[in-house]
Amino acid sequence: MPNREIDIAYRVKYLSILDQEGQIDQELDPHLPGELLLKFYRAMVLARRFDERMLILQRQGKIGTFAPIKGQEAQIGAAAALLPEDWIVPSFREAPVELWRGKPMERMLLYYSGYSEGGRIQEGLNMLPVSVPVGSQMTHAVGIALGMQYRDQKSVAATFFGDGATSQGDFHEALNFASVYRLPVIFLCQNNHWAISLPRSRQTNSATLAQKAIAYDMPGVQVDGNDVLAVYCAVKEAAKRCRAGDGPTLIEMVTYRLSMHTTADDPKKYRTEQEVAEWEKRDPITRFEKYLTERQILGEGQIRATAEEIKTQIASAESRWQEIMAKGIDPLDMFDHAYAELTPSLLDQKEIVARELEEKK
């Protein structure tokens, strides 16, 4: 057969469980315990409320630029499908995941209000700091997975990135390495349809992002990224494959950035209100709330109670944040984490700043 079609082993799948009306696909229902479903709900609402609060603080000049996550809360399904010993390597739009994992809100506020000290991650939390250079963090997850493989740990390294990030060379290199070494990596692409002003359709010409997995003979899955159940199930399955030694998976979570790119951005310049309205109908929280209510897992009272609780929780994080700032953070700290030990030049330079601060008093 000298002119034939080549049979490509991998096919790309699409998964959706809970549709935008809150109707579940009976066959695919993972039958998760109500308690877990409520945890999902609470995490998504917390993420939404914290995001709204950050936006207000930013508009008041109390924090600097940050990347809102509104509409992408179902990402917590991915974090929920992993174990604490698994590693998470985020991009910069994973506040919901960071919260799920237990990063304190005051630390996030500290970071976005311009204190490097906010970047610290508490001991025991297997998560890298926010990574701003688009696409660059995926190979770190691959390296971590190499470590797990070397140490015979049956853990997973999951890394998040956007649709825009798939255009970076580092995306390709990361998937290739992960596939060549059959590493326990889950590549979680948050396709939120926009990379600042560039729509997904002009970012790359492929019908799906998931199909890019075929370049590496790697399973590729597209899921409804606003469906927390689908996200959870897809990641759970990929994690199972990882732990069994069957290598990496690429998961495209189809979602939408309902808010601006960052607080420095004006999306009116490049997209229609209509498009946004269309996606508001597919809000991950609304449909999940509807589903939980209809199933009587969640009641009116509980919705209100949760809202109150979350309000208090955010307020008290803000107080702690204010306290930390009020206590003061030594500006000279900026020299202390450059290297394990200060170099002679840095000692001199630290001295310069110390004197400047002294004179300013």
Binding site: P133, S167, I196, S197, D265, K269, M334, K360
Partner: protein, 326 residues
């Protein structure tokens, strides 16, 4: 003449060069529909259409690599890297190809491209958005590296960069973008690449700076004149490569004293080369060590600490007074 800030002046330069020369093509992330995250390319897509203003996928290495190909083909691409902190994704392309196409092909192919990128601190930006690492480019033979300091000079230098037959890396001080306005003539102006200028004449001490640091340097000079009766001669380097050492060497021969000011890390920064040139060409005129008021040898911290990191007026004043007192 209209009063413009640096963003507007750069926009004017791009617009006029595009009108004049159909080889000029812009490419970069969010430069079209969005007009660039700092609005430097605002309105240009509307005027010139999507064949001349390309919104690219998110890939800096490809932006540089395609620019190289376009330039070889005979166009004059002006690529925007959204922040200089991300220009290092394109570093190998510029290092291995843009800078070498001419020697490699022995002059048959040239790369008349411009790589524009906002750089520097002082605007409360996120991590990786405030670096000042122009030396990476300035130390790379085959590239030119320029940094304007005012709206009018930015416009003139960008026009020169676009017309330059060789690849030019053009860093734009974002702290200056909207800091002040200056008269910018509608008619064409250029400024020769490889030349520095006297930003303020004086006879007591020479201050050498460029880009965003020029503002505090001039402020310090004013204060020194007013409070100390010291007249600083301020040299604005503008071009880090080729480096024009004539102006500052002449100045130091006159004043005998000098301070270099820049945001970039001190060690292996531009100040070192400036000092080396002074030593090579004017050692016997020196009455005091040349000192440096610069950024430190650490990553620039998040915005609350930026003012402690950046060489502001107090640090410059101190360096000048110490140098004078030596």
């Amino acid at each position: 003449m209209a009063k413009m800030n640096m963003v507007q002046a750069l926009n004017l330069a791009l617009r006029q060069e595009m009108e004049k020369d159909d080889r000029v093509i812009l490419l970069g992330e969010d430069i079209g529909v969005d007009g660039g995250v700092f609005r430097v390319t605002d309105g240009l897509l509307d005027t010139f259409g999507p064949k001349r203003v390309l919104d690219t996928p998110l890939a800096e290495s490809a932006i540089a690599g395609c620019s190289i190909g376009m330039a070889v083909y005979g166009l004059r691409p002006v690529a925007e890297i959204q922040f200089s902190g991300f220009s290092y994704y394109a570093f190998h392309q510029m290092e291995a190809h843009a800078s070498r196409m001419r020697p490699r092909s022995q002059g048959r192919y040239t790369v008349p491209m411009v790589l524009r990128a906002p750089y520097g601190g002082g605007v409360r930006a996120l991590e990786h958005h405030s670096e000042s690492r122009e030396i990476y480019w300035a130390h790379t033979p085959g590239l030119k590296m320029v940094i304007p300091s005012t709206p009018r000079l930015a416009r003139a230098l960008l026009v020169s960069a676009i017309r330059d037959p060789d690849p030019v890396v053009f860093y734009e001080p974002k702290a200056v973008y909207r800091a002040f306005r200056e008269e910018v003539p509608e008619e064409e102006e250029t400024f020769p690449i490889g030349k520095s200028r006297v930003a303020r004449p004086g006879g007591d001490i020479t201050l050498i700076s460029y880009g965003a640091s020029l503002m505090p340097t001039l402020e310090a000079a004013t204060e020194l004149s007013e409070k100390d009766g010291v007249e600083c001669e301020v040299i604005d380097l503008l071009s880090l490569s080729p480096l024009d050492d004539q102006l500052f060497v002449e100045s130091v021969k006159k004043t005998g004293r000098a301070v270099v000011v820049h945001e970039a890390h001190a060690t292996y920064g531009a100040g070192a080369e400036v000092i080396a040139r002074i030593v090579e060409k004017a050692l016997l005129y020196l009455e005091a060590p040349v000192s440096r008021a610069t950024g430190f040898d650490i990553v620039i911290p998040l915005y609350q600490r930026e003012k402690d990191y950046l060489p502001g007026v107090p640090r410059i004043l101190k360096a000048v007074r110490q140098t004078l007192a030596f």
